[in-house]
Subunit: 310 residues, 2 copies
Amino acid sequence: MGRYLAITGGVGGAKLALGLSKLLGPDDVLFAVNTGDDFEHLGFDISPDVDTLTYTLADEVNQDTGWGRAGESWQFIDALAQFGGETWFRLGDRDLALHVTRTRLLAEGRTLTEATRTITRALGIWHTLVPMSDDSVRTIVHTPDGPLAFQHYFVRDRCEPAVTGFEFQGIDDAVPNPEILACLRDCNAVIICPSNPFVSVDPMLDIPGMRDAIRASGAPVVAVSPIVGGLAIKGPTAKMMKELDVPATAEQVATHYGDLLTGFLLDEQDAGLHGALPVTTSVAHSVMHTLEDKIQLARATLRFVDTLKA
Amino acid sequence: MGRYLAITGGVGGAKLALGLSKLLGPDDVLFAVNTGDDFEHLGFDISPDVDTLTYTLADEVNQDTGWGRAGESWQFIDALAQFGGETWFRLGDRDLALHVTRTRLLAEGRTLTEATRTITRALGIWHTLVPMSDDSVRTIVHTPDGPLAFQHYFVRDRCEPAVTGFEFQGIDDAVPNPEILACLRDCNAVIICPSNPFVSVDPMLDIPGMRDAIRASGAPVVAVSPIVGGLAIKGPTAKMMKELDVPATAEQVATHYGDLLTGFLLDEQDAGLHGALPVTTSVAHSVMHTLEDKIQLARATLRFVDTLKA
């Protein structure tokens, strides 16, 4: 039996990833993380989705903010404001240690994969999370007022601009992370966590060779819907779909992934779609608040995968 | 009447500089600061002596530690330890904002002089402090076990290694800060603050052209002794002198500066040397604890200068 490959973006995907990590041992699952959100800021190399999953798996999520690190303080960013520095991306004092460490490791010539391993091990994480690629891919959000770097759209402008399309700069020259390709060569199943299809999952799937490697694996590919009852559990997915003039429905997410999918996991609220989609579906309680919710959804996902392999 | 030029290193010199700043207006004194202590650490460009004077003039000195910034916290450095980062140079959360700002400004192509101005203005400092040069000069401390970068000697190894000599890397290619040269062209007096002659003042004086410019100014040059009663008020000056096999005395400091000096200000404890040195001396209470001490010593220094010009 091979490993599971779990594809994830930020907060929503990381919740299911945490659940999976409680059911699957460190050698049984590889977490492949979107790095289209990455950016250079104040001289630091920042990988928001990698960090979200890192803090989630380390039980270091800041429950007050929903992002960043637990036990956080804001002395640095408040002092930076005094110097006229940019403060829209709130770097916490503790969080900063991670960015300084990664920036230093990259400057020393380590890959993002190596830097991520050093950081996650230091935080006591034994599961493996890898960036989708060690090459730079940068998500650009197109709006009526012009293109925006992803974090400018997402954090600085709070997802307010209307979206007209996306672009993944550098993707033509990027190669998939070799650890992802290795995992796909002996893969139990590919699980697409409930992340934003456009800006969390597509940057990974669109890396040249990635879709082919997934198909060639022969493993079932299951996506957990990030849209529940026409709403995004987290983030701007539903808003983006409306702006892109497609229905903000779970069905549309399945359509978006197309024939890459073997199975699609719907929330109970969308049980009416069960059996009505061109892909095999299953239904589960997918809104995750507690750790138990996350483990339950992970269990339902793995059970669904098993039925698809039978 | 021209301006005063005050040459200073770290904590001891900054105390007199603060006193001078209370008696002389922003246009009447230029603070020239040692940058031989500067180093690159954790990806940041750090200028310890510039920062010490900056925090001193901004009334932001950390009274608990005697260095660094007031109201400090240590969340960053504690979190960095978890990642195996170097923690011997304790960067506080608030202090970090200064280093990030400077590093960013330098990366954008600004000079250290320009970066210093931006930072000091942001902290409400209207006096001008400039680095001795915008070129890199790095003080190396020679020891029986080999050379040490200054901060390794000073902070990491707590001045414990015996000193056999000093080296100022890059100094042959450095030019004096143009603002210092401009100040010297119409200069009231040069005041060498009570800083370490070997590692705080010599790196500045030894920049090619600096001593000539001071001499050419025709201004009196007064040093305030950093050695009082055979002890250094602050830092390793006396320890260094013993290791270098010279008497740890105020007299020896005057000898060290040689004929560059017009006057030498002794502490009351060394009043016995008054009139016994080959340079004109004066005596004052030079151990500075309170702000009043600093202003009194500044007043005594300026009065002494006046007598030398008469």
